[in-house]
Symmetry: C2
Subunit: 403 residues, 2 copies
């Protein structure tokens, strides 16, 4: 059985007696470059997210338990509280490595090192410099400025990442030149950031594939969601050879955010504690005072709800007919709507069986028509549907008795 | 100036005096196949959406005014009300063509024709048949079943689309064989549907590109969002040569829905009445009793909010530094957070200027520190920030007076 990634190794299983496995259309998407089965998660809710004070430590602990590989924090120089938070998180003894996301200034880097982080994510505002073709002049300037801080971090025995900004609007030759140089200096990762959320998947594949041939270090990617492509871009980056993906809970972040942890898990179905997604999202949503969107992957109230008669029938007979994700993998349950004018008789029949009633198909069809007629007039709750079924069944039994 | 699609012809303009145009990383994404600049929208909120009775006609009118090319409705045989709705919508005299989405049954098709629709979208539950390799037997069966209804619709002078279901898990040779035959019969469009939301962009590109070489008719695509790729997949399908994209307002639909109209517009920035997006979304959200997600493209309350000092400074000096989309194109406004411990002094300086106060940079830095310290203790409203600025300015003036 293959999963949505075209791999066999992860747990997208379903009812064991199911006759139609979840095979996929197998295009030529497997390649030696692909890291779809071996990526690492950099969780940046506490930095890119709302920088909320409320539930800060609980969120870090929960993310660690979930299994993220890195937790990224705001630079300790942002405020006195940021400095204290960073120190405290570093002292929690989490399995996840703690990263500070800092500007390319020695003061920022030193402050992060003092806090006890495991690594430094250096971000450099390169976009203005790299956006026009610079014939190497600005590139030299960027590299000169970067080298001091990179070497300092290395001397402290910590991981270091060097990221350009707005990478997809930067001049290709210039940006590759910067990445190649910092790779030679020995950074652990280079970072590609779609800071404004403009990239589309084919651009992502092309840039990451090219970069994969230029640097030997790991490649971290960071995608904003302004044009709705953040999850697809993260997945496509892995296909092209990136190794680390930045995510936040519910995708919270600047503007309409970045690749969401839950949405990305829906895409990947892998090794993390998936049943914790809902708990994590609820915690963060409360802390930043937002609601989980109705259409949120996995946990939105519509995610596993089937409404049309056609779909409802299909999903009740074989869930994989209309679901690529098994809700149980995430500790969620499936919900099939009966109370709609689109209800099909197969759905009603399923409900009849669930109610442990015996009813011939002809009568189920009659009951279905009653339900549809009533649903055109007013919204129906499941109790309404049940009482229509029960009263019809009682009538049927009575008819039998009278015969 | 190029826009996010790499095209020059559409209106992604910004402040005229801006020095840094919104150029993009230009990968090899332009191709003779691409329909990114010439697609048509099939709006299916009234079918794939919640099939809500409330605001049904107002939504249709508003969608027509917005400029969608097609409005798709539920099959008239779903319920007596569906039949009435279909007839009434057809009688409204809208510019958009009205389509009925029907099963491949003559009764369904005849009912739709009677209602006066402009075209029929035939959907056939092909997935079980096409999922295993069928050596042509099931394919012949599907084609035989389809041909009668297709020829009937053609005899009525109406448009006809033939769509398979779960296209990305179907056997490639079989599905191409079905599409090729219905193309020869003369359908206006074939439909590719990712019914379960499993496809990723590279699979989409590959299938649509292959299909483009097999059929000469138009290609409609329909993407569910279970794994967060619906918008990216729709865009990528256009790059590969598809011509029509299915969307709904806010993406509502089975489970967590399909490609959202607003999110897709954020990706495309094109010829539609973009300022109507919010009104449309508000209307549908009220009708189906949901809230617009906080992170919704364009209209979510975070979409144009800039929080970190770094971003806030950047966006105030040159909006395109941190925005790929101009909020004004959609009738929206930009919002920059001052009330956060991440506030940078450039942001505060901008506010000082907005308040028409005269304050030297050194003092702005002091005020910024005060704001940050207070923001660590409690959430700050814009009024708090203003009064810190004003009181500091008053003190400064007093100092000057005392000298």
């Amino acid at each position: 059985m293959t999963n949505i990634n075209g791999l066999d190794s992860h747990g997208l299983t379903h009812a064991p007696n199911e006759s139609t496995p979840r095979e996929i259309y197998n295009g030529p998407v497997k390649s030696f470059l692909s890291n779809v089965s071996r990526f690492k998660l950099i969780e940046t809710t506490l930095r890119e997210g709302e920088q909320f004070a409320n539930a800060f430590f609980d969120t870090a602990k929960k993310l660690d338990e979930f299994g993220v590989n890195y937790i990224e924090l705001t630079t300790p120089v942002a405020s006195p509280q940021s400095h204290k938070d960073c120190e405290l998180i570093c002292g929690l003894g989490l399995k996840a490595k703690i990263l500070a996301h800092v500007r390319r200034h020695m003061d920022d880097v030193r402050a992060a090192v003092e806090c006890g982080v495991d690594g430094i994510n250096i971000m450099m505002g390169t976009s203005a410099l790299l956006r026009q073709h610079s014939h190497g002049k600005d590139v030299a300037q960027i590299i000169k400025a970067a080298i001091e801080v990179i070497e300092y971090v290395q001397s402290q025995g910590l991981e270091v990442r060097f990221s350009t900004e707005d990478s997809f609007r930067s001049n290709l030759v210039d940006i590759l030149s910067v990445y190649k140089t910092v790779d030679k200096i020995g950074v652990n990762r280079v970072g590609v950031a779609d800071t404004i959320g403009c990239a589309n998947p084919r651009q992502v594949y092309d840039l990451i594939q090219t970069l994969r041939g230029v640097v030997s270090c790991d490649i971290e990617t960071h995608f904003h969601d302004d044009t709705g492509c953040a999850t697809a871009n993260a997945y496509t980056a892995l296909e092209a050879g990136s190794t680390h993906i930045d995510v936040t809970v519910l995708g919270i972040g600047e503007r309409n955010g970045i690749t969401p942890l839950g949405g990305f898990m829906a895409r990947m179905i892998v090794k993390y504690k998936l049943h914790m997604i809902k708990e994590l999202e609820d915690m963060v949503a409360e802390a930043v005072q937002i609601n989980t969107p109705f259409n949120n992957p996995i946990t939105g109230f519509c995610a596993f709800t089937h409404k049309s008669g056609y779909h409802a029938k299909g999903v009740l007979s074989h869930p994989s007919n209309y679901e690529i994700i098994n809700p149980e993998d995430f500790g969620m349950t499936r919900y099939v709507h009966f109370e709609s004018r689109l209800t099909g008789w197969h759905t009603v029949k399923t409900r009849v069986i669930q109610l442990d009633l015996d009813m011939p198909d002809d009568q189920v069809r009659i009951v279905t028509e009653k339900i549809k007629t009533l649903a055109d007039i007013r919204p129906l709750a499941i109790e309404d549907v049940d009482s229509i079924i029960r009263s019809s069944h009682a009538g049927q039994s009575q008819d039998q008795y009278l015969l």
